[in-house]
């Protein structure tokens, strides 16, 4: 067991934090969010240069073969710096899916340009009530019809990975380039300023070769990729929570009322101390999620869904406190406080809500053999 960052990991964190602070300060970020496409000019190219787009992929697929902890570090800093570039949707979620599900040709075609920053992917997810796509068999391939409501990073995506229920049952994923006949993608803004898209597929034709992998049911892989993505979101949220706490501590140390800094009032000090408690818990939960990503499903669900539920609860409280302790300033768009608050609101709703993850975790943890199990795992046999 080892739960400390390596020197390389500390360096990664410092580099990312410094670079984002330089290249993506709050005014720059606000300008990007309110601009037409919601992107910060040139930032994605920097991500590519820094190798961040390659970070989560194996060397075989042109990546760095970094581990999950590296990715969590990167995600945490993105949350702290309020990055709205489609890193999560394109690289973590869609890229992760292609890496695990695609055949060698598909991986080469989709991942290489992603890693080089030349094109973007987005995953049109499975788990959306009322937004389903179904595939029917047609000559030489399939026909897709239906819609998707919340495609993260879909506004700028060049290729959509569309999940569809297959004629013989099970779930398939098709790579559908933007501009394909029968595909309508409309971009919109989420409450935190990031961009998503909704898709309408109207009898769209795809070839058998557009189906990721072979003809197997992709659901197990999708679940695993989604869990990994949820763990990443948890790290993102921890970054946003800690930043909101840091900003609140800094603000109340500066802001004078009644002849002294607000930070000298014990009632407020304890409120911020409580925020710190919640941030600490959240950090621990996110770490558990991160190191559970590759565990067998039961341990993975326990680690990941437990963290999403726990952090969801804590994040809401920390975000609301940050606004309150900033007073009216926290209620303005010109302070980052509101932006962290909104990002954490969005966090709670994405990839399964706080309540849904709590239920999923609850179903797992009420099995005595799971509940009684220590977090430390026995070594793999053989």
């Amino acid at each position: 067991m080892d739960l400390t960052y390596t020197e390389d990991q500390q360096m990664l964190r410092d580099t990312v934090r410094r670079l984002l602070a330089e290249r993506h300060d709050f005014p720059t970020r606000q300008a990007a969010v309110t601009s037409g496409d919601g992107r910060a000019p040139g930032l994605w190219a920097t991500f590519a240069e820094q190798g961040w787009l390659a970070l989560p992929f194996s060397e075989e697929n042109g990546g760095f073969g970094s581990d999950e902890v590296d990715l969590s570090i990167l995600m945490e800093e993105m949350g702290r710096a309020l990055v709205v570039e489609p890193y999560f949707g394109a690289v973590v979620l869609a890229g992760g899916l292609v890496e695990r599900l695609g055949n060698p040709a598909q991986r080469a075609a989709l991942l290489e340009p992603l890693i080089e920053g030349r094109h973007l992917l987005a995953f049109a997810d499975v788990a959306e009530a009322g937004a389903e796509v179904s595939a029917t068999k047609s000559e030489g391939g399939f026909t897709l019809s239906g819609r998707k409501q919340l495609v993260l990073g879909g506004a700028a995506a060049d290729v959509f990975l569309v999940s569809a229920s297959m004629p013989g049952g099970g779930m398939g994923i098709f790579a559908v380039p933007r501009g394909t006949e029968g595909l309508k993608a409309s971009a919109y803004m989420l409450a935190d300023g990031s961009r998503a898209a909704r898709l309408e597929l109207d009898g769209l034709s795809v070839a058998q070769s557009d189906l990721l992998g072979a003809n197997e049911d992709a659901m197990t892989t999708i679940d695993a990729v989604r869990d990994r993505a949820v763990a990443c979101l948890c790290s993102d949220a921890v970054g946003a929570m800690e930043a909101a706490l840091d900003a609140t501590v800094a603000y109340t140390s500066e802001r004078q009322q009644f002849g002294r800094p607000l930070s000298e009032f014990q009632a407020l000090r304890h409120r911020m101390a409580e925020m710190a408690v919640k941030c600490q818990e959240a950090r621990a939960s996110a770490l558990l999620a991160t190191v559970s990503i590759n565990a067998e499903p039961s341990a993975r669900i326990r680690g990941v869904s437990g963290a999403k539920a726990k952090i969801g609860r804590n994040a809401r409280s920390v975000a609301q406190e940050a606004i309150q302790l900033h007073g009216a300033m926290g209620f303005t768009e010109e302070m980052a406080t509101g932006a962290w608050f909104k990002r954490l609101f969005v966090f709670e709703q994405l990839m399964g809500t706080t309540a849904q993850h709590l239920a999923r975790y609850g179903a797992e943890i009420t099995r005595p053999e799971v509940l009684s199990q220590s977090l430390l795992q026995a070594p793999a046999e053989g």
Partner: protein, 400 residues
């Protein structure tokens, strides 16, 4: 003691319902539902105000001599409940609920005769100039300066967070006329015509995406001494009187109940798989808890208002309690609403006001407004004196 309506009161309720049914048009109700701020957009609010004014009902809590309808407490309560349940635009803000009671108590007959009728008609629309960049919770530290020159005060400085100042004709403000002695002593209460030269109003956008408040700059603005309320240096006493009205001097129970009813409507809509959020035991429990909060707050309002029938002052501890509880309840309702809606509430519509957008179904419009309303209600525990400051007032009373 009992809560029963008399037959006359029940008949009164019918009369109010009939009025609201016929006058509160569907588009005005829609504008209320799509309002992402605390107060209605002035064009909606003022148009509605003039309709209510024709019936003489605009200022239910005002005494008859000043143009109030002369209602009993029960009638006022019924009226408020009915208006809120019918989605009346929320327009009784700084004009009717704040500056008017101050004018009645501290104003000269000339000031009363001039201003009160114009408040009723909506010709004058007021904003509140208390806070300054350096003076929020510690309001008495304010610096905006008024120097007397003959029959005028010359005002220099700035006010911040002034809600709807950009749409107002007037502002009532606290200004510093003396820097010696205790800081509370040198404060004077003054009425400022916002069309005077030297006033500049800069917008501030809030996290719910609306321009509702402003910073207001005063550069050698000359205000006649006749626009002063009370004596020079009496401003702090007057300010505290007004704040008790702002915090608790009226009923909020109707609005909270109306919001809760709306949440129930949203939570009762079946999802595509047929399940209804309200059938989820966790949501049902949270929903019921909020209802108990509303009932308790409502009773507190009724009983403390009973003590101060007709235009009186509710007193600091009940006022502060109501201010705290109202803000918490509103926040819980809007929070549970977005929880119920889940990812559907994530799409952000930057256009304001929302009612300018093409009409869609009520369900879709509820979804469209939900996140912005949730964000907006975070301000409830900040404005009008933060919840921390309310707790301080209560604590001081406990230990005095």
């Amino acid at each position: 003691m009992d809560l029963t309506l008399t037959p006359a009161e029940a008949a009164f309720r019918t009369e109010i319902r009939q009025f609201l049914d016929s006058e509160l048009t569907a588009d005005v109700r829609r504008a209320s539902r799509l309002n992402t701020s605390f107060l209605a957009e002035p064009e909606i609010g003022l148009a509605w105000q003039s309709k209510v004014n024709q019936r003489g009902w605009v200022a239910p809590s005002w005494p008859e001599e000043f143009g109030g309808p002369g209602w009993s407490l029960a009638q006022r309560y019924i009226f408020d409940q009915e208006c809120e349940m019918a989605d009346e635009p929320h327009f009784r803000g700084a004009s009717i609920k704040m500056i008017a009671p101050v004018l009645m108590r501290y104003g000269t007959p000339e000031q009363q005769d001039h201003y009160l009728p114009r408040i009723l008609s909506g010709e004058h629309f007021w904003s509140q100039g208390y806070s300054e960049p350096g003076s929020g919770s510690d309001l008495a530290s304010l610096k905006c300066k008024a120097v007397r020159e003959g029959d005028e005060y010359v005002i220099n400085g700035s006010k911040i967070w002034s809600t709807l100042a950009h749409r107002s004709t007037h502002m009532f403000a606290l200004v510093r006329t003396n820097s010696e002695g205790r800081k509370q002593q040198g404060i004077t209460f003054i009425l400022i015509d916002l069309s005077l030269p030297g006033i500049e109003i800069a917008p501030i956008t809030s996290i719910c995406g609306t321009h509702e408040f402003n910073q207001v700059f005063f550069d050698n603005v000359r205000v006649p001494v006749a626009e002063r309320i009370g004596e020079e240096g009496q401003g702090w006493e007057i300010a505290k009187y007004l704040l008790e009205f702002e915090r608790g001097g009226s009923f909020a129970g109707g609005l909270l109940r109306a919001m809760h009813c709306r949440l129930l409507r949203i939570a009762s809509r079946p999802a595509t798989d047929g399940t209804r959020p309200i059938d989820d035991p966790l949501i049902a429990a949270r929903f019921a808890e909020i209802a108990t909060d509303i009932d308790a707050n409502d009773m507190l309002e009724l009983s403390s208002m009973s003590k101060v029938q007709s235009g009186g002052n509710p007193g600091p501890v009940p006022s502060s309690t109501m201010k705290i509880e109202r803000s918490r309840i509103r926040q819980s309702i809007t929070e549970l609403t977005v929880t119920v809606l889940g990812p559907a509430a994530l799409e952000w519509e930057p256009q304001r006001p929302l009612y300018d957008l093409p009409e869609t179904s009520e369900a879709e419009e509820d979804i469209r407004a939900a996140a912005a309303i949730y964000f907006n209600t975070r301000s409830q525990s900040i404005f009008g004196g933060t919840n921390e400051i309310q707790l301080e007032i209560i604590a001081r009373a406990l230990f005095s």
